[in-house]
Subunit: 154 residues, 2 copies
Amino acid sequence: MADPGAAGPVRKAVLAAHQGFYDAIETGDLDLMASLWADDDASVCVHPGTEAITGSGAIRRSWAMVMAQLGYVQFILTDVTVALVRDAAGEPVTAVVGCTENVLSEAPDGTDAGFAGGRAVATKTLVRAAGGWKVLSHHASPVLMPDEDDEDDE
Amino acid sequence: MADPGAAGPVRKAVLAAHQGFYDAIETGDLDLMASLWADDDASVCVHPGTEAITGSGAIRRSWAMVMAQLGYVQFILTDVTVALVRDAAGEPVTAVVGCTENVLSEAPDGTDAGFAGGRAVATKTLVRAAGGWKVLSHHASPVLMPDEDDEDDE
């Protein structure tokens, strides 16, 4: 079952793969992005506001298109949560990572407007493979109805 | 690693839990909904267009609010995909399920408009627990930019 604590080296390795995902987007490194995904016909990627893309090959092609269209972009991640799932032997096999993506990007059309800001929420499932933690699903979506009360708990 | 085939009884059990999730919404059964979630401080739920809600307690309260506001609603699921993650012994421990939610609901404000339709994309991570497959994360988001070409693959 899930281990909310997820402390120590396992959590660190999961978050390193998670950070690599955003490094890949910021630097436009498609090879790095592709290397972070699990090779699976049923892997899932949802870019904000779009339908799901299924399977490693189609997902790689979608990132090539996204990266070709992106100018300067920077992600500041907040509200990062990690849930770890362990097998019967206590070994971590899966991690669910949630975060808020605070995105700083070039204003469109090369105008003098400078930078544009945006916010999305993302959930990823990572699985432990021989080559490290790999992304099996990534779902990002725009925040259209911000929570005015930052505290979900009473 | 992930097993895209996901055939047979395991896939069937995963999809039964997945269907239970939508049965719970359609019938406004909060106890059923709560019973389908893993008890985890880092479980994640994203309702369409909103920020993430973290932890079993806050997620249950969010569903109570959603259900209190819903009138008639019916989900027709399409594009359902299942990726299975197995442990070293070959036992399935995690499943990632993607789907399109085609939503039929009452038109707002009790007008004579009848029904309203909508479409969202959802990704869930389920984990195998003693009591069956439980939802560790659910992320749903509106489809703002429909894919005009239904084939993601060339």
